[in-house]
Point group: C2
Chain length 461, copies 2
Amino acid sequence: MFNKDTYVQRRQQLIADVKEGLIVLVGNEPSSMNYKDNEYHFRQDSSFLYFTGLQSPSLVLVIDTAANKTTLFGDNPSIDYIIWTGAVSSVEERAAKAGIEHVQPLSALQHVLSTAQQQKQTIHYLPPYRMDTTVYIAELLGIPYQSVKEKASLPLIKAIIKQRAVKSAEELVQIEEAVNTTAAMHAKAIQLGAPGVTEMYIAGIINGIAVSGGGNLSFPSIVTQNGQYLHNHASNAPLQAGKLLLCDAGAENRMCYAGDLTRTSPVDKTFTTKQKEIYQIVLDAQLAAIAALKPGTLFRDVHTIAAEKLVEGLIQIGLCKGDPKEAVKNDVHTLFFQCGLGHMMGLDVHDMENLGEQNVGYTDQLIKGTTFGWKSLRLGRALEEGFVVTIEPGLYFVPELMDNWYAEKKNEAFINYDKVFAYKDFGGIRIEDDFVITQNGSRLLGNPLPKTIAEIEAMKA
Amino acid sequence: MFNKDTYVQRRQQLIADVKEGLIVLVGNEPSSMNYKDNEYHFRQDSSFLYFTGLQSPSLVLVIDTAANKTTLFGDNPSIDYIIWTGAVSSVEERAAKAGIEHVQPLSALQHVLSTAQQQKQTIHYLPPYRMDTTVYIAELLGIPYQSVKEKASLPLIKAIIKQRAVKSAEELVQIEEAVNTTAAMHAKAIQLGAPGVTEMYIAGIINGIAVSGGGNLSFPSIVTQNGQYLHNHASNAPLQAGKLLLCDAGAENRMCYAGDLTRTSPVDKTFTTKQKEIYQIVLDAQLAAIAALKPGTLFRDVHTIAAEKLVEGLIQIGLCKGDPKEAVKNDVHTLFFQCGLGHMMGLDVHDMENLGEQNVGYTDQLIKGTTFGWKSLRLGRALEEGFVVTIEPGLYFVPELMDNWYAEKKNEAFINYDKVFAYKDFGGIRIEDDFVITQNGSRLLGNPLPKTIAEIEAMKA
Ligand SMILES: [Mn+2]
Ligand SMILES: [Mn+2]
């Protein structure tokens, strides 16, 4: 974890921003897999982690803004627990590492909260994303679990986003460590890709590299020869010659900062001509988007630049026609690029997604779109120095979507459907890198991972 | 999955055993990690899996025993879902694979259950181990979530244990596949163990082998140089020369059958003399326990045989004294062997632990112990042909426990505390293999994994 001063400072800033009431940050519990004690690997809540650095379960942080008093609620391990699990530091020791002066047992928490409720103090908490947390908050506050989400605190959400959106120098060091482990995963995946190897085999090897890096995966690895389906994971089917292998995967380091990269490589040793054409269009779109990154620019506009560049390329090879800008205004690009250009990244791979995409990626004046394509753009607002974002354009040839659009004769002024249909078995290509916004532009995070056609082929030679 | 006849037969047997009412098996939902859509890998509930073979989330199986009618409740994927995730088979297709004739949408479930409630039919369901399942059952039945667990059906629990406890030939094939992947994990861990390598590095590599095998981990890997703490996992601390590396890890195969092996190897290329002495005692205890396995024998008695053999060995090297049988009667072994000799294994690594250890491992006449050591013995009852069990004796030198016992002068007639204290930094040794009970004895599952001192050292040479 960072030096305790970091956490003290973050909490002081939070008090200054939230201004009144009690702030309650509930840490995560272990998650049961197929019976209670068989647990998935423990993952702390990211906001709890941001303000405490503490990675153990069953802790609650309470900040009394009026009294400027922070208390960590948690229970010390029993002697039985120590015999089974080994010496664990006391709650007092953990609190001290986070610069927290007060400690109380969990059993004291309900009384503290009900007293605050009687005094008509606001109790600020975040919307939970796990049912056990939802029920726990309901029991603490004496409210029905069905109303926990709606009573979450928007002032707290906004105050936390304000801080977490801008990454400090010490956070960037952590993120770069995660990105470097992520790059090692991708280099291995590209080299392992070959006819007959299963997606799951490659997923296993690269997942292992993430854990060996000291942390874990930042999200379930996408390792697929069906890259046109955006959320496809890995199957036990062997890779086929002539296909593309799309790998979208990332590690989180031991402090839980995320990396998130995508590379698309041929299953064979080289790309086909058809694959090269599409690949180069995606790469050019990525480079155009990267060149547009700077403070003040709306990320929504960077998304548009990438979309126009993609359509421009598709026009050049005959799949589209007309004016690229006009085409994008008519959402032509969403036949091939159904998702967003990127997202914030930090302690979550989609940073702060639990705090609401509108709150994180947009503003009170800039509202997230609701139409196909635009509704999947997680980030739209003006970039600021210290934001960390992914840039991940792609071209995805989804047969079901082509058929749907064709049946409606959708955008036929811009689309040569006969040519597009020849890509029904093409798959999908995405290229993704991670950037921090700097004073004048952006900086690539982590060691560069090869991404030109020549570089990718050289890795497989 | 198996041929549908297997599932039809299992459900018919279940109807015959439960006899009356409605049987409701709720499948698992995805589990959120750090925000709603960032999910841990999906793991189906094992009983749902046993009776359907279906590995997708958001399904409920309802068996009407009176009408002998089985219905799968689930919703078909939307076109949006297919565009993002690729073609998914319909609920009808999935039901057909499991030999289930009736399908209804999830929205119809509540009405079916409330009608049954009005008709005073018993609704049998299993005790949930995840809060989201608990709340879902509460909402379906219109009861408080706090009372869901107590209203779970003991007749259903017993009927399911009766079937799942005895493994069929086709199940044994699956278990052996999992054990073989598990053996590959262990061979790699033994070879990777060396001074300076971190536990987490090894855990990553072997976790990757489990996933590459097509399935996942059957439980979080224990990879530790502090093997005396039974539930210690893996840390980022480098392995130290002179220490022992205890690895207790397992894969589950793609059908979710578990493997579970433990090996203890030197961090260096060879064991020290002191390590060899303790290792041989544990191995002899394991061999004695294995020799005792046969139908009709109480597993509790096999545990006692292993405990006596361990104490016998400790007497020979001077850590204990007196008569081994007398010593075990006085629980002397629990200073060194605090846990149980083994457990059932199948679709869960601790098979059916969610159905209650008393129900699974004991009988109405044979009650699980409550004292230190005995309370950790998950299995006590008479073995039957087709049971799959682990045999995993160990010797664990836990400084905190030695100090506790010594302060109470506990069992000082049997323990040479001065000698025992010389093992405070020794660590722990466990050796674990998986067996099926046969007509006359037992059979090792999977390819044999080296376990003699000479074999282990040869693997590191
Ligand atoms: Mn991404
Ligand atoms: Mn075991």
